[in-house]
Amino acid sequence: MNYELRLKATLQQPFALQAELQCGEGELLALLGPSGSGKSTVLRLIAGLQYPQSGSIELGSNVWFDQRVRLAPQQRRVGYVPQNYGLFPHMSALDNVCAGLHHLPRHEQTRQARKWLERVHLSDYSKRKPAELSGGQQQRVALARALAAEPSILLLDEPFSALDSITRESLYVQLAELKAGLKIPIIMVTHDLNEASMLADRVALIDNGRILQVGSPANVTRQPVSRRVAELVGLHNIFRSEVVVQDNAMVTLKLGRHLLKVPTKQAVLPGGYLEWVLPTDALEITTQDEIAALHGFVSNILRLGNLVRLFVRVDGGTEVFQLQAASHHHFELDQPLAFKLDVSKVHILPMV
């Protein structure tokens, strides 16, 4: 039995959404995007809690939605953990897990539910009501309930957003462990890039109802396909520069009074412009006499705990680079600063 999920959906109401994605069995796909981007809606479409205007949703050889088919959530066998977990407040943890098993005889329900509570390390809490459990425990009950019914897909809507950072860390580990034993697609909605990088095999970036890029966490952070993706994955150094010369696979960009030679596969005529991005770790402060250094002036200083972020405007240009440094160093506004740029980490954005 193949459990790959394939979704292709268009929605006009209540807002425009156009999504196409796949998720293989045993794979964890993170839907990453800012609030209001439509990522939870995609999850609801997969669960059957909402229907698209057109498109198709298939799991393996089963059609869940197309022009003729329109399965209800009850017919899809999805394990769904809503954002606030959606636990039944009047039932004990055990009964909550049993709720997904009503097709089984009572003693079998209890046996299965106990097994799942044990797997999420909550055996001692089976008699407690949700209100008597901590946020992390509630999340695990919801996870146990979703998995107990042996779903064909697991959907998690911001499963860690309501938790403190210590609880979150331990639950990351737990989810990673659970994932190893699951042969179904797992789709997790999150707005946290770190979370996605840590847990997901692939990330789908959503913005404004559209999927902008799908790839491994490293792929989307190192090689964004557009300026918007670069912004969404938290890249600060995004530039647009004039092309001076291009020969072979190298292009020379004008950067104030500096020239920067970077590898590229794109053909651009001299005088044209290219957009490029740089991760913060590609920049390093160096001494003024370093030959390969770029020079500029500190235009702004932002203190962030142990770190200080420097905004450095290049000599003779308008480009402002953002660099990180340890906060025990002393910096002043308008002071000249030299820095090295690791050209191999430059990523040139594809032209649209």
């Binding site: 954002q83 959606g86 039944f88 039932m91 709720a99 997904g100 097709h103």
Partner: protein
């Protein structure tokens, strides 16, 4: 003490609950979860008995169901009696004026159940009916208790519409509220006082009981408190 009138009032209250609450459950659930064109109008119509003087409702029932109306004539032919000045007419009137008291608390009870909880129930494979009995009703229960108590208390106290539709036939349409009025008209203040005191004590006891019942269920995890 007019025991016949008290018994009639209690019977009317119980019958109103028996007929109205099941209907109110479905109406309230529909209003709570469905979006449709004209929903504000539907809600306004159901709330009208709250603001209209009961005599107005009584007037329309009298005119609409009396022996001059075609509906009244038809009812006469099929059932053998007129609804007005009859217990069944009284029951109908009581149901109509109690609609908002029954529907609104139940609707609030259903609305208070988070979307997440109902979504999770659907993904657990629960059918609508199973969801209603295992999730929605237990969680909306405080609202339902409120509706039952308000309807019952309101029926005991109803005066205007009963007088208009029912008249004051002993054992048929003469409720305790009408009986008190009758006693006062007859300057029998002792009897009126007895019955009033009895009604007062009874109302306080019922409301207190409902309050504690509702709170008990509230603690069990419901979302609504009286």
């Amino acid at each position: 003490m007019d025991w016949t009138a008290l018994w009639l009032s209690l019977k009317l209250g119980a019958m109103t609950i028996l007929v109205l609450i099941p209907v109110a459950l479905f109406t309230a659930r529909f209003l709570a979860y469905r979006r449709f064109v004209g929903k504000p109008v539907a809600e306004a119509l159901l709330a009208v008995p709250l603001v209209l003087p009961p005599t107005v409702v009584g007037y329309y029932l009298l005119v609409g169901l009396g022996n001059q109306s075609w509906l009244g004539q038809w009812l006469m032919q099929t059932t053998g009696h007129f609804l007005v000045f009859h217990f069944s007419g009284l029951l109908l009137a009581s149901i109509i004026v109690n609609i908002p008291f029954a529907v609104q608390p139940i609707q609030r009870g259903f609305e208070a159940i988070p979307q997440d909880v109902r979504d999770a129930a659907a993904c657990c494979g629960m059918s609508s009916l199973r969801m209603l009995f295992t999730v929605e009703l237990p969680l909306a229960w405080p609202g339902i208790v409120t509706a039952i108590v308000l309807t019952f208390a309101h029926t005991l106290g109803e005066f205007g519409v009963v007088l208009m539709v029912g008249g004051s036939l002993p054992g048929e349409t003469k409720t305790i509220a009408i009986s008190i009025y009758d006693r006062v008209q007859a300057l029998d203040f002792a009897a009126a006082g007895n019955m009033s005191l009895m009604l007062l004590v009874f109302s306080v006891v019922v409301l207190a009981l409902a309050n504690s019942l509702s709170r008990k269920f509230g603690r069990r995890g419901g979302y609504h408190e009286l």
